[in-house]
Point group: C2
Chain length 182, copies 2
DNA sequence: GGTCGGCTAGACCAATCGGTCTAGTGCAAA
DNA sequence: TTTGCACTAGACCGATTGGTCTAGCCGACC
């Protein structure tokens, strides 16, 4: 579960991303976190002066960067918007199976934090970033600006909802079926 | 926030549903719960021998029953499936605004509990119940069985994803826009 | 009137929570 | 070699956690 080659800060971020995703922000104690990351408490508060909440923000950002890469990879070789979106659904289905059927890493981390406005603002920022990324590809693939916006929001909504249902069912099938709802 | 007329058990369930929805299962302590419900600890463990986890299941069930009523009310007077689904979107948008922009009560309660299989199985059961309810109305309104299944799953996915985005944005607009994605 | 059981009431508990603080390590620049 | 700083290490803290347990209230039935 741990990667001894990585620097402490990165190990903390990745452990946090993983644990928050599976058990939620409040469901993870510092003890679990530090054990998983093989780091002492002092290191946590050195790298993240505000402790758990700072770490949660960093973990969500890190997870979001990964998602942005998946979106880019899905659309980069695509000929049409539908092709790209379909590839994205398949990639996420595979990711879902590999991850052990966890929740959306952003929602599980940022939707229940103590410092509500800061967490929620960050979630909004991250989600808007995903939609914007899809939108860029939509525009590049020939959609009008208005169409690009509408369709990228729809892709986000479908994926978010599909992921939730997939988690409840322990099956990635619905994620692949999303391609028929584009 | 509390309804002194209601019996203790119901007050506990409704307080739990409300608090779990806003802060998540682990984000709510028994102390908050009991204060909000104006009940002593003894009553909790009398009505729910397994404590917090039993209460969470009951609260999710109660919230789900409300959702089933909203679905039924939306489709009952509808002439077409699209009409019913559109009404549902509007009703949920209004509910979202009234609720103070909370999360889906099922996801926030059941997706991070300690006893993972029991909680997740219950979430699946509830979600499948919602989809089944929509499906019944779809069939009644003339859709073929296969179409009814596909469209009811789609409605669920859209609502679930839309709700998440609405929460991040603190705006119910996207929920109303879902009608264009049906 | 007595008693029995559903329910309330909250003191109490060990365990765990997030966070602070001091001491020490090890590398890099002077 | 010495100094300084980024970082590690974990003991320690008060507060809070979920849960147990005993005592007693109070209305219903005998």
């Amino acid at each position: 579960m741990t990667k001894p080659a990585l620097p402490t800060k990165d190990r903390l971020i990745q452990s946090a991303a993983h644990l928050f995703r599976t058990r939620g922000y409040h469901g993870v104690g510092l003890a679990d976190l530090l054990t998983d990351a093989k780091a002492p408490k002092g290191s946590l508060y050195h790298h993240f002066p505000n402790g758990k909440s700072d770490l949660a923000i960093a973990a969500a950002t890190w997870a979001s960067d990964g998602m942005l890469r998946v979106i880019a990879a899905s659309f980069d070789g695509a000929d049409t918007f539908e092709d790209g979106a379909t590839t994205l659904c398949y990639k996420l289905a595979k990711l879902f199976d590999l991850s052990g059927w966890d929740t959306c890493p952003i929602a599980s981390t940022l939707f229940e934090g103590p410092d509500n406005t800061r967490f929620r603002d960050h979630a909004k920022h991250i989600y808007d970033g995903w939609i914007a990324e899809v939108q860029v590809h939509a525009a590049r693939l020939g959609l009008s600006e208005e169409e690009a916006q509408r369709k990228s929001e729809r892709v986000f909504v479908l994926i978010q909802g599909g992921w939730t249902l997939a988690r409840a069912r322990h099956s990635s099938e619905i994620l692949r079926d999303l391609r028929h709802m584009l």
